[in-house]
């Protein structure tokens, strides 16, 4: 395997980790947004906050990882992507900042208005960020980024395929989040919340699955190269693996085995990301720039692989410890509903 391909694999690995962990994070915001009124949604919102609290910052380490590998290993693609897709990336960046700030400050709201503003900012940004990031992926995958950069700042990502991938990303995140939250609810002894998230996971799986299948028609008409790649060779293998893992995850959720369902869901996402990579291989920017053309020089490629190895030596044990402590319930705080916005109704 060439150096550029190794670095591309590292990039896709980071992207998979962000899609699973960051996706679950954003998806939790989807359930916050759709939880209902202040009183009815208070316990569900409390569970979202309880589950996200220990890990939400760590989940976004992977975005930094992806960006660093991208601009260092593939600078000739990074430049055109940033020059062309700066609008959705900027909007995603702003959303990440607002979302993080709202989440951190949410429990400290002094008034009902503050609580509602912070809750609204968190929930809306949680849906907007994956939508814009998905649109960026859709734009790249459908060949909307020219090699010389400075593609159309609006038309590049507002076509049918990028927007469709944006919606699909929101749905996928909601599904993963529901699986994770069901498991977390069991861990803190909130069985009724576990049941509620179980139903949400099953529903989101079916709805997103149908959306993904319908997406093949959109891809066929709007991103023919990607469609051909996904329906032949290694691409179709990845699609089949993703579908199988999705079905296994669905069965595990149905039988209330939430911990293995987490991993099956992660495999489904990993296979989807791998399928994207395989479908557009050997291009980095489809129809514009190959992987080798996009890659940095050999010394840089080697330096990245070595430094990523060193970084993973530090990062992997730290994350392993964090998630082990989290899943063992050692970092859990007392569960209580988020009812600040409900004080108006109190006697």
């Amino acid at each position: 395997m060439a150096l550029a391909e190794l670095n591309a694999a590292v990039l896709l690995l980071g992207l998979t980790a962000y899609a699973v962990l960051g996706g679950a994070d954003f998806g939790a915001g989807f359930w916050d947004l759709t939880a209902g009124g202040a009183r009815r949604g208070a316990r569900l919102r409390g569970m979202v906050k309880n589950a996200m609290g220990p890990v939400w910052e760590a989940n976004h380490v992977w975005l930094i990882f992806v960006l660093v590998v991208f601009w260092t290993a593939f600078p000739r693609a990074f430049g055109p992507v940033m020059q062309t897709l700066y609008v959705p990336l900027y909007l995603a960046g702003v959303g990440i900042i607002f979302r993080g700030a709202a989440f951190a400050l949410r429990g400290e709201a002094a008034t009902i208005v503050e609580a509602r503003l912070l809750g609204g900012a968190f929930a809306l940004a949680s849906v907007a960020v994956p939508f814009f990031l998905g649109a960026v992926v859709g734009a790249v995958a459908s060949g909307q980024v020219p090699a010389e950069g400075a593609g159309d700042a609006w038309e590049s990502w507002t076509g049918p395929f990028p927007l469709y991938i944006g919606v699909l990303t929101v749905g996928a995140g909601a599904y993963i989040a529901a699986v994770f939250l069901a498991g977390d609810s069991v861990r803190v002894g909130q069985e009724d919340l576990a049941r509620a998230f179980r139903w949400r996971a099953l529903a989101a799986a079916l709805v997103t699955g149908v959306l993904a299948i319908a997406g093949l028609f959109v891809a066929r008409s709007q991103a023919r190269g990607l469609y051909d790649g996904l329906t032949s060779g290694g691409g179709v293998v990845a699609v089949v693996v993703s579908a199988l893992a999705g079905v296994v995850a669905l069965a595990l959720v149905w039988r209330e085995h939430y911990e293995p369902a987490r991993y099956a869901s992660a495999v489904a996402v990993a296979a989807t990301v791998a399928g994207w990579g395989l479908a557009q291989r050997p291009d980095f920017l489809p129809g514009a720039l190959s992987l080798d053309e996009a890659a940095a020089g050999r010394p840089t490629q080697i330096a990245i692989l070595v430094s990523m190895g060193i970084a993973l030596l530090i990062l992997a044990p730290s994350l392993w410890l964090l998630f082990r402590l989290t899943l063992a319930g050692r970092l859990d705080t007392d569960f209580h509903p988020i009812a600040a916005a409900d004080r108006r109704d109190e006697p």
Binding site: R43, T158, V167, V207, T208, L211, A339
Partner: protein, 66 residues
């Protein structure tokens, strides 16, 4: 809305949303199709995750009382 109505509305949103996205290429149809696809996501989820499984959440109070 009954689950049956929600399901029909979700499927209609999906079919019309995808149809508009594939068959037309104007800004207005794109905006409408994205809204319809989001509507499909939300309606579809709550059509399956029926209210009888979700409506009981407000009844318990685990708050520490502060």
């Amino acid at each position: 809305m009954t689950p049956r109505t929600l399901t029909l509305a979700a499927l209609a949103a999906l079919v019309v949303g995808v149809g508009l996205m594939v068959l037309f290429d104007t800004a207005a149809t794109l905006v409408v199709s994205v809204v319809l696809l989001f509507a499909y996501l939300v309606l579809g989820v709550f059509a399956i995750a029926a209210p009888e499984h979700l409506g009981e959440l407000g009844d318990r109070d685990d708050s520490p009382g502060d």
